[in-house]
Amino acid sequence: MSMTSSTRVVDGVTILDLSGKITLGKESGTLRDTVLAIIAKGSKKILVNLAQVSYIDSSGLGELVAAYTAVKNAGGELKLLNLTTKVRDLLVITKLVTVFDVKDDEASAVGSF
């Protein structure tokens, strides 16, 4: 299953709920494009919910980094929510856990912006 996404807004924070796999494929670039579309609508507080992301590869990690950089360059903040063990392991191994602000609870994550 490739990646699917949906967005919702909670207290001024746009939550991007992702599901499936974030890997090299036809959907490459989708995450960054989705984030750019959110920024274009005026939201600069973005919380990426990875609870339903079962799998990510190095291309997917690159997608997350590209999204993070796009939001930062626009003067906003992108944080990650609900990492699965597999995804958290990869972020730790690659030291990307030092780049991203990672949250485990949606309410406190929303309040942290």
Binding site: L24, G62, T69, L90
Partner: protein, 137 residues
């Protein structure tokens, strides 16, 4: 030895085969997922970076399971990988790069990773020792 076209479909095939072999070797779900992922990384390297998704070039792969280890070999017919150009993805100046983590992940998650120059191309050999299944969480 499997011979496959240079396509994302071949990447998916090799990833799935790696996971099957990992389970057959007795690795747990998490390690099998890691092994499948690094096979995917090597297959992407071969099909995309090595062969440029060329219809003229093939990806070759083999899986070997013995009492000691699972060995995965994936080769391309490209110009050859220059390891000297591979940047350290953990260096502060490279953390925000959007690519360049594939080989690092192979080395981080497998016990042995070897590169062999072919004419033309590169063969990546990745080994996971089966003994580790005893201590895997």
């Amino acid at each position: 030895m499997l011979t496959l076209e240079s396509s994302l479909g071949s990447v998916e095939t090799l990833e799935a085969l790696a996971e099957e072999y990992a389970f057959a070797a007795g690795f747990g779900e998490e390690m099998a997922s890691h092994i499948a992922m690094v096979a995917r990384e090597a297959a992407v390297n071969a099909a995309m970076h090595g062969n440029g998704f060329s219809a003229e070039k093939r990806v070759r792969a083999s899986f070997e399971l013995d009492e000691r280890a699972l060995t995965i070999r994936i080769a391309d017919e490209g110009k050859g990988l220059d390891l000297g150009t591979v940047k350290d993805p953990l260096a502060a100046e490279n953390l925000l790069r959007t690519s360049g983590r594939g080989i690092f992940l192979m080395k981080a998650l497998m016990d042995e990773v070897h590169f062999r120059k072919l004419t033309p191309g590169t063969e990546i050999t990745m080994v996971k020792h089966r003994i580790q299944k005893e201590t895997e969480a």
